[in-house]
């Protein structure tokens, strides 16, 4: 045991120059900001005041006992769960379609078209969908022509539909990443499994349930968790489409944090909010890392 430790130490000291630069970057860019946010969340305010006073967990108490936090947490959770679920479903369907052995050129063309939403920045997506879903916009026009709608409905401007509309936009924007990952997964499934299943007389549904999905499961779980982490802290799309409104109907943890910081200039309280979001996403990250370890 003693010998083992010494060897490890020698190995470590030899590897330090190699991992050193990366470690320094991680410390400076990740660990330092994180720690400073945590420290800043325990003072009364900073940046806008000359002296900060320590207030302990006061900001956490204020946030957690306020009426906005539960609403924002609920909205964020609904937004994340539905977004991720539909990303997986839509991504899987498109990945399956792209995996069909059709003309290579046509296949490439569809790949390019289907990945487009992922390429646009959030601001472009937000402006585009604001125009599409404008009460006097094209979506309402089409729905009205089909007789499905009788009025100019404000999808983003009515509390009962705003969150749903936002989820639809986020599904549209986020499925390509899942699609590409699942496509890579699909292409990695050995053909022999399907051949064996066919010989055993499995139909399309059985092949899907007993070969494709089990084989894809590691990928599905990994990117599902990753997507959940990303979606949970999504800000620009929400801010640029609804700003958290109407009322609080699309308030998420990140828009609420922004309002605390840049509308109210309560930077310490915003730091506390950021720490709360950090804890939530860390829980998801732990699941993700455990998942990755299991795969390895």
């Amino acid at each position: 045991m003693h010998r083992f430790n010494r060897l490890t130490w020698r190995q470590t000291s030899r590897s330090l120059p190699f991992i050193g630069p990366a470690m320094v970057l991680l410390l400076v860019l990740m660990l330092y900001p994180m720690i400073s946010v945590i420290i800043n969340s325990t003072v009364d305010n900073y940046i806008v005041v000359d002296d900060s006073n320590w207030v302990g967990l006061e900001h956490y108490r204020t946030i957690l006992s306020g009426s906005v936090f539960p609403r924002a947490f609920f909205n964020t959770s609904v937004f994340t769960v539905f977004s991720v679920a539909f990303h997986l479903v839509v991504g899987f369907i498109f990945a399956q379609l792209l995996n069909y052995p059709i003309n290579r050129r046509v296949q490439s063309l569809f790949r390019v078209i289907l990945i487009l939403p992922w390429i646009f920045t959030a601001a472009v997506v937000a402006v585009g969908w604001r125009l599409l879903l404008n009460p006097l916009g094209i979506v309402n026009y089409v729905l009205q022509s089909m007789g499905l709608l009788t009025s100019y409905f404000p999808w983003f401007g009515a509390s009962e539909t705003a969150l749903g509309a936002l989820i639809v936009v986020n599904i549209w924007r986020g499925y390509p990443f899942i699609m590409v990952s699942l496509l890579a997964g699909l292409q990695g499934i050995p053909k022999v499994l399907y051949e064996a299943a066919e010989i055993d007389g499995a139909n399309v549904r059985q092949r899907l349930l007993h070969v494709t999905i089990p084989q894809l499961m590691p990928v599905i779980l990994s990117i599902g968790l990753l997507d959940a982490i990303w979606t949970f802290r999504l800000f620009p799309l929400v801010w640029l489409t609804t700003g958290g409104g109407p009322g609080r109907s699309t308030e998420t943890l990140s828009t609420y944090t922004y309002k605390i910081a840049f509308n109210r200039y309560e930077f310490a309280e915003a730091a506390a909010m950021a720490v709360i979001i950090l804890v939530c996403t860390m829980l998801l990250s732990v699941l993700y890392i455990r998942r990755q370890r299991m795969i390895q």
Binding site: V48, R130, N134, P135, L136, S151, Y152, F153, P154, F156, G157, A158, S159, A162, W239, L240, T241, T242, G243, G244, G245, P246, G247, R248, K259, F262, N263, R264, Y265
Partner: protein, 288 residues
């Protein structure tokens, strides 16, 4: 701070739409405004009386689309350094606006509408009225050169006989508090020069704006629109609410959120005014 140039926020009206509905002049009272809004609204064709913006991301619609009506009823949002929102005037203003909303006279989507969208709706004749900055006149003409529109003071209640009022936003100039005496003297000379009647008029003419110096007489090249903007500017009581307060955005957003609740039928106009007052008290006066 002194305004080098200023812009006022009058009521923009679509002359053709009003004429089509049988009106040859803009409304002078809220009652007339409502009557005209009703007359021009045709939801089947996607045409409405008024467009307002209450997007929470940029809550500037609050001073433009709501306070504009409040000032024109003889009230101000602040009085003696105290918030002044829980008043009969505010309740009536909110009631008036909410009635227009509930009766379908406002273009749908007010709660998520941003300023560019509001302007587009006016440019594309989706709405007969909007309250907006005179800074947008050039842009409106550029987007739709055929649009036949005019500007007038925002109408007040019929029983109000005070002067018209308008929000005013300026490009301001000032001297930094950190300047030395010599620097401040030199800076003051520049300001005096810029604010002189001739230079002020020159800047206003070239910026399509209103001069910071009220005695300046800019030549707007016969532009009727700018002449009437200038007369509103000279005659109206001018308000630039919350300027200099660090929490301006938050104050506006909290107000907007309460109006959202009003529009969604969650509270009455009285409750909205009281809730807004409470928010503002807690921020401005530090009341809990």
């Amino acid at each position: 701070m002194l305004p080098v140039v200023s812009f006022v926020y009058p009521l923009f009206y679509n002359i053709d739409m009003l004429e089509e509905a049988g009106y040859d002049s803009p409304p002078e009272t809220r009652e007339e405004f409502r009557e005209m809004a009703e007359a021009v609204t045709n939801a089947d064709e996607g045409r409405y009386g008024w467009s307002i913006m209450l997007d929470l991301g940029q809550p500037t619609g609050v001073p433009t689309d709501i306070f504009g009506w409040y000032w024109n009823a003889g009230y101000d949002v602040m009085e003696d350094g105290q918030p002044n929102l829980d008043t009969t005037g505010m309740v009536e203003t909110l009631q008036f606006i909410n009635d227009l909303q509930q009766d379908g006279l406002i273009v749908p989507g007010a709660l998520s509408r941003s300023e560019p969208e509001k302007l587009e709706e006016f440019v594309n004749e989706r709405t007969a009225f909007m309250v907006s900055s005179t800074a947008h006149i050039a842009m409106i003409r550029d987007r739709n050169p055929d649009l036949n529109f005019g500007i007038a003071p925002v109408p007040g209640p019929s029983d109000y006989d005070g002067p018209p009022a308008s929000r005013v936003v300026g490009w301001d100039i000032g001297i930094s508090g950190g300047a030395s005496e010599a620097e401040a003297d030199a800076a003051w000379k520049v300001i005096e020069y810029i604010m002189g009647p001739d230079v002020s008029a020159f800047i206003a003419e070239n910026a399509n704006a209103l001069p910071g110096n009220l005695t300046a007489s800019p030549d707007f090249g016969g532009s009727e629109m700018h002449e009437s903007a200038y007369s509103i500017y000279q005659e109206a009581d001018l308000y630039s609410p919350l300027v200099g307060l660090p929490d301006t955005q938050d104050l506006q957003r909290l107000f907007a959120e309460e109006v959202h609740a009003l529009f969604e039928g969650e509270q009455t106009a009285e409750e909205t005014a009281a809730a807004a007052q409470e928010h503002w008290n807690s921020i401005i006066l530090g009341d809990d």
